[in-house]
Symmetry: C2
Subunit: 213 residues, 2 copies
């Protein structure tokens, strides 16, 4: 059979190249369009990255007869939305180097720590569960970027070590990686960056209000 015409057989050997994120096929629509709605007619601006709208927030709050501040709601919703958006952009970014955000963070943390660390420490420092670290290490070990070695002091423990190949990967991607990160915040002045860091930290601290109880 011709290799190209096979339908489901191609999946049989799991021969899909890992991390082939290229971009969404749902192309962005026009800047502005009329939206017909059962309740009202409204202009919906789809200016990139600025959804949802203050109008939407206001409408929702009013709809349920609450006295919440629409602007406050908007900030919260935008942050959640922005987080997902930036997270996806980061995933596309790291896919270039055959990594994911999680795998890169683990590699970089290992490098910063001298090349050795236990999975538990990694989980704590990366702020993910130990199970996630197991999964990340599995993938990285398969590609030869890290290795696992039983701990010398603790019979239960393991040590993750950065391999030469892993260190090389980090070195190779560094110029483009840091260049793109810099470009990402290039639209802000130094003063604005300082303000942004402060406000971001305070909102993140406030986001515990979502999970608390």
């Amino acid at each position: 059979m011709t290799a190209r015409r096979t339908r489901y057989a191609a999946y049989g050997g799991s021969t899909r190249p890992p991390y082939t994120i290229t971009g969404t096929d749902t192309r962005r629509h026009l800047d502005t369009e009329i939206v017909s709605c059962h309740i009202c007619f409204m202009m919906k601006s789809v200016t990139n990255g600025e959804a949802p709208t203050l109008d939407q927030a206001r409408r929702q709050v009013e709809h349920y007869g609450l006295d919440a501040d629409p602007q406050a709601v908007l900030v919260a919703v935008r942050l959640i939305s922005a987080g997902a958006r930036v997270g996806r952009a980061a995933e596309v970014h790291f896919a270039r180097f055959g990594l994911s955000t999680g795998r890169y963070r683990l590699l970089a943390d290992l490098e910063d720590h001298g090349g050795e660390k236990s999975p538990s420490r990694l989980a704590a420092d990366l702020d993910v569960s130990r199970a996630t670290v197991t999964g990340l290490l599995d993938g990285l070990e398969r590609e030869g970027l890290v290795a696992r070695r039983p701990s010398a002091e603790d019979g239960r423990g393991t040590v993750a070590i950065l391999t030469a190949r892993g260190a090389q990967r980090l070195r190779d991607m560094a110029p483009e990686h840091f260049g793109r990160l810099e470009a990402m915040v290039g639209g802000l002045s130094v003063a604005e960056r300082t303000v942004f860091l402060d406000l971001l930290a305070r909102v993140v601290r406030g986001s515990e209000a979502l999970a608390d109880d």
Copy 2:
């Protein structure tokens, strides 16, 4: 056999309550601790939500002999980190109401649009792929919060409609939901919120620098 002692049998019927996010078992460690490292000894402050550090960013940039601005790198990395953090908090929040962030966003968008919308429109407006919308609708339909109906005009199309049960769910959760969102940004003054919205939008727009090419 006693229902409590069963090991894997409990999974047999897939009788796991959906969305039982309660919090991580990796409890936070102390505020400050000494970290021994092959290269250096350093104080590692784990002040909640303020990792990674400017020092880490500076060290990394220097390590590879680049001339990137450490503060710019820090802003980018913090935003990515904060996005994941806030995203997880949101997931915990929505789990309270038997929803996920994606499912809530779909429901709310439907409600705001008069209760009817095609999956393609939902995908475009929520900024996710159509495949994701299919998955979200599957879950919501299973719980009776939305229904699918073939489109009247287009033989290919489907219309997702908000059911009475779905509208009720939104109504029930509204007070607590908006209250928590408001609390989340309660640490910011109105002026600061305005600034934050502006800066956030600009950084999100800049985050295209990660995915572009």
